[in-house]
């Protein structure tokens, strides 16, 4: 997270310098391969489940529906299971994630290898795509059954908070302890580290390299280059896909629940209402309830410099929510916001998800009126 924001900061600060150096004899290499066309998604989790693998890197069989015989052209080498067992970080990662004995060590090696420019080893690109499918289904299902009335935008924001690039990067780095391969070949040689050990770290083409003071760096964006967070998140997605491949879907669901859905998000602080009073009165009109009225419940120090007012937001006789503030207006608006949140954050007791065995039909949301 921090690293990313710092990088952004650098890019902004260095842009004027770059312009002054436009006469530099060194010109950036033009992109040899045009990047595959991509849809612009607002959230990173949506982007990850729409990965594109195009024809030159993919060998498509005659019958396009013969999914078994698709092959990637770049794949030539593979780390064998025996070799993978010699890498300490792979062994410890396997133990740390409490993976089953069926889960192969070589799958973890593949999950830590992103698509790179001159890489002949099998990479995690398509595994990450399937992992993203699994993650986004189980997280969406969880949110829809637990918070059936969330507006669509908040639902997507909450899903992104669980399985967006930054969150999964945090899972990979700070919980699972995955490291990226940063040392140069020379440093590896000097520390007499076996060559195999680099497969135990996350390897990817970095989007930007460290910018040094006084050095202007041209963008090294290529087709395969990835952001720091995206690369780590893809590793997590690929590991999830690996759980599916070795242990089946039931275990994958448990894996997602224990590693991703157990994390904390605060949905109520994702809302920011522009005109809460207007929204509330429209909501009540659609639900055929009486329009909201705000009544003062108690107050203190009206004439002092620190007054406090407590108001309630009522629809007919029923109190929807209370609000307190240091002015009548503030208290009023707080009560509207609380009433709206009480509606949108409705949570059924003992809700079951569609993929559960003892499933019961869910509460179905009718959608938000938006006129």
């Amino acid at each position: 997270m921090l690293g990313c924001s710092r990088r952004l900061f650098y890019r902004v600060r260095l842009s004027p310098i770059r312009r002054t150096l436009s006469t530099s004899p060194v010109k950036p290499n033009p992109l040899t391969v045009a990047p595959a066309r991509k849809r612009n998604f607002k959230f990173s989790y949506e982007r990850s489940s729409h990965t594109i693998v195009e024809e030159p890197e993919l060998k498509v069989p005659e019958n396009k529906l013969d999914f078994a015989n698709y092959q990637r052209n770049s794949y030539k080498l593979k780390i064998s299971e025996e070799d993978a067992k010699k890498i300490p970080s792979i062994l410890t990662l396997h133990a740390r994630l409490v993976l089953s004995s069926k889960y192969q060590y070589s799958t973890l090696v593949r999950a830590l290898t992103c698509q790179m420019k001159e890489n002949e080893y099998a990479d995690n690109k398509q595994m990450a795509l399937f992992g993203a499918n699994l993650l986004s289904f189980y997280v969406t299902e969880n949110l829809i059954s637990n918070y059936p009335r969330l507006p669509i935008s908040i639902l997507k924001t909450a899903t992104d908070a669980y399985i967006g690039d930054f969150s999964l990067c945090d899972v990979a780095q700070n919980s699972w302890g995955i490291e990226q391969d940063e040392t140069s070949n020379l440093e590896k040689y000097l520390s007499s580290e076996p060559k195999l050990f680099r497969f135990g770290r996350l390897r990817y083409d970095k989007h930007t390299t460290q910018v040094e003071k006084g050095i202007t760096k041209f963008d090294n964006v290529t087709v395969t280059s990835l952001d720091h967070a995206t690369a780590f998140a893809d590793a997590v997605r690929a590991i999830v896909a690996g759980v599916y491949a070795h242990d089946g879907e039931e275990i994958t669901k448990k894996f997602i629940q224990s590693h991703v859905l157990s994390r904390k998000i605060d949905i109520s602080s994702m809302f920011q209402f522009r005109e809460p009073g207007k929204l509330l009165s429209r909501l009540l009109r659609v639900k055929q309830m009486e329009p909201p009225t705000v009544r003062l419940i108690s107050e203190t120090g009206r004439l002092s410099n620190s007054p406090i007012f407590v108001v309630g937001c009522f629809s007919g006789d029923s109190m929807l929510a209370g609000g307190e503030g240091s002015s009548l207006k503030e208290a009023r608006i707080r009560s509207f916001v609380n009433a709206l949140k009480a509606f949108y954050l409705y949570k059924p007791l003992d809700s079951k998800m569609p993929s559960d065995d003892d499933f019961k039909p869910l509460f179905v949301d009718e959608g938000e009126p938006f006129y």
């Binding site: 410890t92 409490v98 935008s153 406090i308």
Partner: protein, 141 residues
């Protein structure tokens, strides 16, 4: 929806809620092959390390020969912090205890907590409000 802005978030880890993952991921042990201060460490490496390391499959143990220095054990944690303890003149049992100390640490820097309870969650009871108390029982000046 029109009228509702969104504020993006990143989920926070709650280690132990779904599954507990040991924060310590690697331990590096350095020793000297002839120094007197490394005698206990050499004993530990010869007699106890294999059994001890097999108890902790989630931690990678790395043993380095560093001639002419005191023996040091250094723990690497998943929050990018390290913790190191010098094991000069310690015997094998004491070293084992020091290793346990490193494994059981969270890796966070030692700080004095200001609150007695630190939590990501809001209080279940909510913040006490004088205005929701029955008027007959309110504190009067």
């Amino acid at each position: 929806m029109a009228g509702i802005n969104i504020i993006k978030q990143v989920s926070k880890a709650r280690n132990g809620l779904g599954l507990f993952i040991l924060p310590c991921k690697q331990i590096t042990i350095t020793y000297c092959n002839f120094g007197g201060s490394s005698q206990g460490m050499r004993d530990f490496l010869r007699l106890k390390l294999t059994k001890f390391a097999s108890q902790y499959p989630e931690v990678a143990f790395q043993v380095l020969d560093k001639p002419g220095f005191h023996p040091v054990i250094k723990g690497f944690y998943s929050n990018n912090q390290t913790k190191q303890i010098c094991c000069r003149k310690l015997n094998a049992d004491m070293i084992e205890n020091k290793l346990k100390l490193i494994i059981n640490s969270s890796g966070r820097k030692l700080t004095k907590p200001k609150q007695k309870v630190i939590s990501l969650n809001k209080s279940v009871r909510g913040i006490w409000s004088p205005f929701h108390v029955d008027p007959s029982e309110r504190y009067k000046i």
